[in-house]
């Protein structure tokens, strides 16, 4: 069977060998835990604890503001130190709840009690996932309960576990699939109970043979479950490309995976669903890779959400060289940070410290577009970045919308492949919020 893939994309050097063979280490944070109120897509959560109040691990400290929002759960026990503006990822101040961690990790009542999911109704499962504050842990941070409530549940025929992990450097999903395949399979089983008509597919890139073997072993004897091997190509893990690779269904800009009959969840999210539904454990920990050539001992952690990046870097042996660039997330879609004292939010999956900045070291400077069309070939969404860039620079927002500029997923393939070294992705990332803002005001 030919390996599944999508149109476009780029082939990247993985750099995964740095941390791919390091088993997951469970890290219990010692320092204070910081929880930004806007860790998810949608409205920020509303704090329900006060300063000085004692909290237990697993307790809800901020309630979701409406359906399109998510609860925030403290991963440790202690006292609420403050509710104040703190530095979050890449230099934005945002309101956060700060917990003075007592290091005891006393669990809130009910947390960790096993529960038989087969006796639960669909509504009860969604309510449990919602209460546990589970969001898309692959990076998108969409509240998962929204995904679990499609408009036409009977139409869902594919439940896709996203184990592509196409970003270079990151290996925490790979390790999770190797070490805890049961969590993922159980998470899928919960979803299969909700959508009985659906087949479960675990999609993994072929650069992770050990994970493929582990998952295949874990689903042995299961009906309606299969492992699909994907070609190693970036951005294989984006929802649109994954749906296309697995089902051959093409997503247009108006489609969501749900109306094509698919529900796509990251493998870490599935593990979180399993913990939330079967063990009554809300989202407190997640896989996190600390890697890069500046890190002394690259590690994969199961880290408490809210731990500061500097603490987790210390746990990985600290820095062995002066880093030129530190990223939250991978090098393609991650964000460069200027301060290590930022908390790990739900959707973060890696801290990459590099001793050199490839952009700075690049000897070729930006030149004019020569219309070679490589960006068009690379774009996984099928856009024309070169024309979008023209529209963006000229501030012709109507034309930008006509070129489907709003469908850009910001994967960075066009800027990566551009021989003229034009910062295309940055133009689109800058233009998108402006256009959305104009549309909201009804001016476009």
């Amino acid at each position: 069977m030919p390996k599944l893939t999508f149109r476009g994309g780029v082939r990247l050097k993985g750099y995964k060998e740095l941390s791919a063979n390091v088993p997951i280490v469970f890290h219990q944070a010692k320092g204070e835990l910081v929880f930004p109120l806007n860790q998810h897509v949608g409205k920020p959560a509303i704090p329900i604890v006060k300063r000085g109040e004692a909290v237990l691990a697993g307790q809800i400290i901020a309630k979701a503001d409406g359906f399109e929002s998510a609860n925030i759960i403290t991963s440790g026990s202690g006292k609420v130190k403050a509710i104040e503006s703190r530095m979050t990822s890449a230099g934005v101040m945002a309101p956060c709840i700060v917990i003075d961690n007592d290091g005891q990790y006393n669990l809130a009542p009910g947390v960790g009690e096993p529960c038989d999911y087969t006796k639960l109704t669909n509504e009860e499962i969604v309510a449990k996932v919602q209460a546990a504050g589970v969001v898309g842990l692959g990076g998108a941070a969409t509240p998962t309960h929204i995904k679990l409530c499609p408009e036409q549940p009977e139409e869902i025929d594919h439940l896709i576990a996203n184990g592509a992990e196409c970003e270079p450097y990151i290996t925490c999903d790979d390790r999770l699939m190797q070490e805890q395949p049961g969590w993922i399979v159980s998470g899928l089983k919960v979803l299969m109970q909700m959508f009985p008509a659906a087949d479960a597919v675990i999609a993994i890139q072929d650069d992770k043979p050990a994970a493929i073997a582990a998952m295949q072993k874990a689903i042995e004897g299961e009906r309606k479950m299969s492992v699909m091997v994907l070609k190693t190509k970036y951005p294989q893990g984006s929802e649109r490309n994954l749906v296309h690779a697995v089902t051959r269904r093409k997503m247009t800009s108006d489609d969501t995976p749900a109306n094509l009959g698919c529900i796509v969840n990251n493998v870490t999210t599935l593990a979180a669903i399993y913990h939330a539904v079967c063990l009554n454990e809300p989202l407190m920990e997640k896989g996190f890779t600390v890697t890069g050539d500046a890190v002394a001992e690259p590690h994969n952690f199961l880290v408490k959400i809210g731990t500061s990046c500097s603490e987790i870097l210390e746990a990985a042996g600290g820095l062995k060289a002066e880093p030129k660039k530190v990223l939250i997330g991978g090098p393609m879609m991650g964000m460069a940070i200027t301060d290590l004292d930022i908390p790990i939010a739900k959707s973060y999956n890696a801290l990459v410290c590099m001793t050199h900045d490839p952009v700075e070291d690049c000897e070729i400077k930006e030149t004019a577009c020569i219309r070679c069309g490589r960006c068009v070939r690379a774009c996984p969404v099928g856009l024309v970045p070169q024309m979008m860039a023209q529209a963006a620079t000229a501030k012709e927002y109507e034309r930008y919308v006509k070129l489907h500029g709003l469908d850009c997923i910001g994967c960075g393939c066009c800027a990566y492949i551009c021989p003229a070294k034009r910062p295309l992705t940055q133009m689109f990332k800058q233009t998108k919020p402006i256009v959305l803002d104009l549309q909201r005001q009804g001016k476009l």
Binding site: A90, D357, E360, P433
Partner: protein
């Protein structure tokens, strides 16, 4: 020989016919133009800078004649142009004061702390839309990528040592830079002003001090010093009301951060 003569003749006839046609067309399809509009257009500087808010000098001339715009609508021309236009229109112009743009930031490369490198689109909008806002520690200061320089049609604003500085002799107060600055740092002040607050940081004094050596601490010393009551403190930044300011300079003398100055 006949070839040359015939071609000259043919061309002459064609020229004559076309000329007659043009005369005929311009006579029959004549459009009535308000004479005043042409006269007003004559007075305007003709840069088509758009500083007035209209599409160009023609558009604002039409608007003035229709009465939609005031006679002093052109900020570039200032008082002399307004006087001429008011003569044409037969209405008296309100006296206009010459204004100039002023950048409310003094955080040059040597006084502002730098937190990172930036390699990307060289424009303030691009750098300012990223989280962290540019390479400097203060997120409210001049980003120094020169969006205002590109917007200025009069070569009156330049990035000097990382901060935009206005050349008052060239500035015509068209306001293009005011609109271009994503940090909203530029405002129009009267040309006669000799003192202005070169900071816009709304952070508290302690934070400002940690980020920049020349930030307004919001201490309020200038407010107490000013006998005219021209200075007010809003959001931890001092503001000078130029209707009251007499330019005595006492505020500048006392300012601990030495930021009440033009240069």
């Amino acid at each position: 020989m006949t070839l040359i003569v015939s071609s000259i003749l043919i061309l002459a006839v064609i020229g004559l016919l076309v000329g007659l046609m043009l005369v005929f067309v311009s006579e029959t399809f004549h459009v009535e133009v308000d004479e005043r509009e042409a006269a007003v257009r004559e007075c305007l500087p003709g840069n088509n800078c758009g500083g007035c808010g209209y599409a160009g000098c023609d558009a604002v001339a039409a608007a003035i004649v229709k009465g939609e715009a005031p006679v002093n609508a052109c900020p570039v021309g200032g008082a002399p142009v307004a006087d001429k236009i008011s003569e044409i229109m037969g209405i008296s112009a309100d006296s206009t004061e010459k204004m100039v743009a002023f950048v409310k930031c003094a955080g040059t490369c040597d006084v502002m702390k730098v937190k990172c490198n930036y390699f990307g689109i060289e424009s303030c909008e691009a750098a300012g839309s990223l989280p962290g806002k540019g390479v400097r520690a203060c997120q409210q200061g001049c980003l120094g990528y020169g969006s205002c320089v590109k917007a200025c049609q009069f070569d009156a604003i330049h990035v000097v040592n990382g901060v935009a500085v206005v050349d008052r002799s060239k500035c015509v107060a068209c306001g293009s830079c005011v609109k271009a600055c994503p940090q909203n740092l530029i405002e129009l002040v009267p040309d006669r002003s000799t003192y202005a607050v070169r900071c816009s940081s709304t952070e508290k004094g302690k934070t400002v001090k940690a980020l920049c050596d020349v930030g307004c601490l919001g201490c309020g010393l200038c407010v107490r010093q000013c006998e005219q009551g021209a200075i007010t403190l809003k959001d931890n930044v001092a503001h000078i009301d130029y209707n009251k300011c007499i330019g005595c300079g006492k505020c500048a003398e006392k300012c601990p951060a030495k930021i009440i100055r033009l240069r």
